[in-house]
């Protein structure tokens, strides 16, 4: 059950004997150029060597931003390197859930969420496990190709469930929620936030035109109009 301290052997496709995800070597969930940049990075060589699911926490609690690759050299972020390490270790479900559920370290939660989206094979599991964290509005710093951006945990989770590419990684195909609902594989989602939003809308109506004016004043034209961002915007207004 042990794994090699580095990923050399795991990346050697001829003799891979480790755990499989979607019938393949989990490390291959990252594209080859990204893989190469990770194993060639100093962070990987110095900080990721010999980690297991327990010692990985030492690094994960020090994370201060998420992201894929950055700069002209497309350097991988520590976040991406640790996600890659997780794919190499493939910790048990209960360990990943522990990472996800703990409240103390938000970047550890984000890391677990990213891993779950990559590694868990049942679509409904992914939705059911990640959706509760659409209520986590904590800020996350994100390293972009050229600089920095601000995002939120709920936005990141939303990205994982809706976007096809997150953190320099093409996410495995996942069926849309509505499809799974139609197939009776998922119950329609009842979000606490949704109810709250409805209540607020009612309140707005009661307040007459005043509410609308306020909304326009605070509205952000640049918003991509996705429900999550709107919901947060509104809940922050309160």
């Amino acid at each position: 059950m042990a794994h090699q301290a580095d990923a050399k052997r795991a990346l050697d496709e001829r003799g891979y004997t480790g755990a499989l995800i979607r019938g393949d070597n989990p490390l291959k969930l990252f594209e080859k150029p990204v893989r190469d940049r990770i194993v060639d990075s100093y962070y990987w060589k110095e900080q990721c060597f010999g980690l297991n699911a327990a010692t990985l926490l030492d690094r994960a609690v020090e994370l201060s931003f998420i992201g894929g690759t950055y700069g002209v050299a497309q350097k991988p972020t520590p976040f991406l390197c640790l996600a890659f390490k997780l794919l190499q270790i493939t910790p048990g479900r209960e360990i990943i859930m522990f990472y996800l559920e703990q409240e103390e370290y938000k970047y550890l939660r984000a890391l677990a969420a990213f891993y779950i989206r990559l590694a868990w094979e049942k679509d409904e599991d992914v939705y059911k496990t990640l959706e509760p964290y659409l209520n986590d509005m904590r800020k996350l710093k994100r390293r972009t190709r050229e600089g920095w951006a601000l995002t939120y945990m709920d936005q990141f989770i939303d990205d994982l469930l809706i976007n096809t590419r997150v953190c320099a990684t093409t996410l495995p195909k996942i069926n849309p929620r509505l499809f799974l609902e139609d197939e009776d594989r998922l119950e329609p989602r009842e979000s606490a936030l949704g109810e709250e939003l409805e209540e607020m809308e009612n309140e707005d109506e009661d307040a007459g035109s005043e509410g609308e004016v306020e909304e326009v004043a605070n509205g952000d034209a640049a918003r991509n109009g996705r429900s999550i961002s709107e919901q947060r915007e509104r809940s922050e207004e309160r």
């Binding site: 042990a2 301290a5 060639d40 010999g50 980690l51 360990i95």
Partner: protein, 214 residues
Amino acid sequence: MGDRKAGAYGTSTGGDTAFRKTWDRDEYAAKAVERDQRIKEEGKARHEAAAAGKKYVRRASTPPDARDTEARKARLNVADQVGKTSIVPAGAGQGKRGKGAGFYCDACDLTFKDNLQFVEHLNSKQHLVATGESGEVRRATLEEVKDRFEWLKRKRDEETAKDAVDLGTRIENAREIEEKEREEKRRKRNEKRRKTKDGMGVPEVKVENDGNIF
């Protein structure tokens, strides 16, 4: 840097793969010896237990000769040099025998020109063999993960508390210094005031003269 890159991925054909093969063979040989040894020892223990009328219970985990490879406890103390890899001639990645200018590995008696080569060496089979490590990392249990988490949290909280104490101490010290300075100023001011009040020259000189017997 180009030559290093090829080896780091394990994709280069020649030397790297050959090296691994030899390693595997040595490893298997070592493991076979170890296994034989263990079986022999176990048999002996079993026999002795039976002779003493006891049931032989195998130890939960027989410690192997080689230690598991573990993560580095801390950052290597080369942080200020990160990214400052200099271009070195091909073959320099092998390290120079003996102590020299650069990063020295005690176990292998090799010196490396920069931190990157040093780290690559520390991760290499050559180094792991020299330090008696297996290169295999033991899987952590959920319990271990939880313990580690609690320890990290405690560590963080202690550091925060210590920082707070440090800040408190600093404020306290600053206040004391300020107080002393204020006292000194007050003393000088009073002295000055006394001098001007009686206008009787300089009292210190007087005292000094009185005290000195020539």
